[in-house]
């Protein structure tokens, strides 16, 4: 796969992490490149690398200062050494064939009981409940990154007609709640304080520490929501 050349900047996230930044914006092509590089670095770890964390348009490498410094002969810092190592790696195109493309279908009940903020959307965006459901279930969403809570996926891009800013103060939010914040959509894996506008709830368990694959979603997944009734919600919840 021929990829457009990406312009990147490398900066320090303190003295134990280094970030490759492709441009501070939410963009599918940038995010794809980030994920390719994430898998590349996972397969061929950098010197002293502890882990790599992909985000919307950046990839951060956490490292062990002592392990990197052990390799250095010329008196340079661990940060400088890694910056050069990263620059060398980025020159090589990534192998893009071995990343599993997954499509995950997620049932959502949009009924009022599970959608404390849907009325706000109806008024604020001058849109009917049916239209909100239609728009939210129409597109498929890309998981751009994981963060905030264990198993929380940042997904986009939400259609302008249902895009609303997050709450100014976080409120207690139930596990499974499906929310919107700006042009992002996400699902709360756990009961948590949160600021996203909640328009429904899924009966699926997003985070299960007892499972090998403890997170239902991962970065790069494609997610499709479909509407279910309250009865179906409880039926699925039971299973």
């Amino acid at each position: 796969m021929a990829l457009a050349p990406f312009i990147y900047e490398i900066f320090a996230l303190g003295d134990t992490a280094i970030t490759i930044d492709l441009g501070n914006r939410i963009d599918k092509a940038l995010n794809e490149e980030i994920i390719y590089r994430y898998y590349q670095f996972k397969q061929e770890p950098l010197t002293g690398m502890i882990e790599a964390v992909p985000a919307y348009s950046s990839l951060t490498i956490y490292y062990d200062i002592a392990a990197v410094r052990k390799k250095i002969q010329d008196g340079s810092t661990a940060f400088e050494y890694l910056r050069k190592e990263i620059e060398r790696k980025l020159l090589r195109p990534v192998q893009t064939t071995n990343i599993e493309k997954r499509v995950v279908d997620i049932p959502v009940c949009y009924e009022s009981e599970f959608a404390p903020d849907i009325d706000k959307l109806i008024i604020h965006k001058k849109i009917s409940r049916e239209e909100i459901i239609r728009v939210h279930t129409f597109s498929s969403y890309r998981v751009y990154m994981m963060g905030f809570l264990p198993g929380f996926a940042y997904m986009g891009v939400v259609d302008e007609s249902i895009s609303v800013p997050r709450k100014t103060q976080p409120v207690s939010t139930a596990a499974g709640s499906v929310g919107i914040a700006g042009n992002q959509t996400g699902i709360y894996p756990l009961d948590s304080p949160g600021g996203w506008q909640i328009i429904g709830r899924t009966p699926l368990q997003l985070f299960d520490p007892g499972k090998q694959e403890f997170s239902l979603l991962r970065t790069g997944d494609e997610v499709k929501f479909y509407a279910i009734s309250k009865d179906e919600f409880y039926q699925l919840k039971k299973n």
């Binding site: 900066f11 320090a12 996230l13 303190g14 003295d15 134990t16 992490a17 970030t19 930044d21 501070n24 914006r25 939410i26 994430y38 502890i50 882990e51 790599a52 964390v53 992909p54 985000a55 919307y56 348009s57 950046s58 951060t60 956490y62 200062i65 002592a66 410094r69 810092t77 661990a78 940060f79 400088e80 990154m145 994981m146 963060g147 905030f148 809570l149 264990p150 198993g151 929380f152 940042y154 894996p189 756990l190 948590s192 985070f207 520490p209 403890f214 997170s215 991962r218 970065t219």
Partner: protein, 328 residues
């Protein structure tokens, strides 16, 4: 059984070096706030430096030992006593069956660490015993310690092989003063540092900031003069770290600490260097923090110095403990 909680503390949890390798799935590393104190306590009792310890805030739990144990305290000084008799920090201490460990007063620091020889049995998840309070997992049942919780050691304590099982303080002490002449907190510039106005930049380095009561294991909120940026361009969420100093929309600062989220979308003004996270972990609400910029060379040098210091301490303590056991 090895020890029982007989009084519940404010927020006492099992912590180790942290749960690394899963931030890409949103799992924050957690771990002891003061990694240096945790390691010192473990080293004193002959444990692996990153063995799980009990991290305590004041008011701290009280413990009843149901078996002889070799313990050590490090970090914040909470005026500890055994059976009502004051006991020193930074010494290995032999405790006997039915001895009671209590903490009376926060004399200095914010977080105190109790290490027990043999390690504390904890529920491990993804390679770490640290308690993740948000996900209710790891450590002791994924939560802070409650009254009547019974903690076990992983291995039989070497205390069992000691000739006497009465409480006594062993006669050597860890000197924790590693060579660091800095009084403030050293920081490296963050990605959005250059967004600050000249005046805000000066305020950041010239003023000391009060740590507010809204400070916990997730982060410290500072009561700083509101700082201003030249641009309001949004920061797309990306990874953050223990020590990242973010600028909140109201112009105040937050220093992210051990239980921080994996990612954040606020401007990153600066980052506390690794070697100073331990110092930071012992600041309490009401204390003032003064930032001073440094560079990577200095930050890494300080980190390595701190690490070498711990290695020397470990060598010395291992030797003393061996001699002591041998002498009987």
């Amino acid at each position: 059984m090895s020890l029982t909680v007989i009084k519940q503390g404010l927020q006492d949890t099992l912590q180790d070096a942290g749960r690394w390798g899963h931030q890409a799935e949103g799992i924050n590393p957690t771990g002891a706030m003061d990694q240096y104190a945790m390691k010192v306590a473990n080293i004193l009792v002959g444990n692996d430096p990153v063995e799980a310890v009990i991290e305590m805030h004041f008011p701290a739990s009280a413990f009843l030992f149901t078996q002889p144990a070799l313990i050590a305290l490090a970090g914040a000084d909470f005026a500890a006593s055994i059976n009502g008799e004051p006991v020193p920090y930074l010494h290995p201490i032999m405790v006997g069956k039915n001895d009671v460990l209590q903490f009376h007063k926060p004399l200095s620091g914010a977080r105190s660490y109790l290490a027990i020889n043999g390690g504390i049995a904890a529920s491990e998840w993804l390679g770490s015993s640290s308690t993740n309070l948000k996900a209710s997992i790891g450590g002791f049942a994924g939560r802070n310690l409650h009254k009547e919780d019974e903690l076990l050691t992983c291995q039989p304590s070497i205390a069992m092989y000691m000739p006497q099982h009465e409480y006594r303080v062993l006669p050597w002490k860890a000197d924790i003063r590693w060579p660091d002449e800095h009084t403030g907190i050293l920081v490296l510039p963050g990605r959005e540092w250059e967004r600050l106005t000249q005046e805000s930049k000066e305020n950041f380095t010239m003023t000391s900031f009060l740590i507010t009561r809204q400070s916990d294991r997730m982060g410290y909120r500072l009561n700083n003069i509101p700082l201003h940026t030249l641009t309001n361009e949004e920061v797309v969420s990306s990874a953050v770290s223990f020590g990242t100093i973010q600028l909140l929309p109201d112009g105040r600062l937050i220093i992210l600490t051990a239980d921080h989220q994996t990612t954040g979308g606020y401007p990153r003004v600066a980052h506390v260097i690794s070697a100073h996270l331990s110092k930071l972990a012992q600041y309490q609400p009401g204390d003032k923090v003064q930032f001073q910029f440094t560079n990577h060379a200095k930050a890494e040098e300080l980190f390595l110095k701190q690490q070498q210091y711990l290695q020397q301490l470990q060598k010395a303590c291992t030797l003393r403990l061996k001699e002591f056991l041998h002498a009987g």
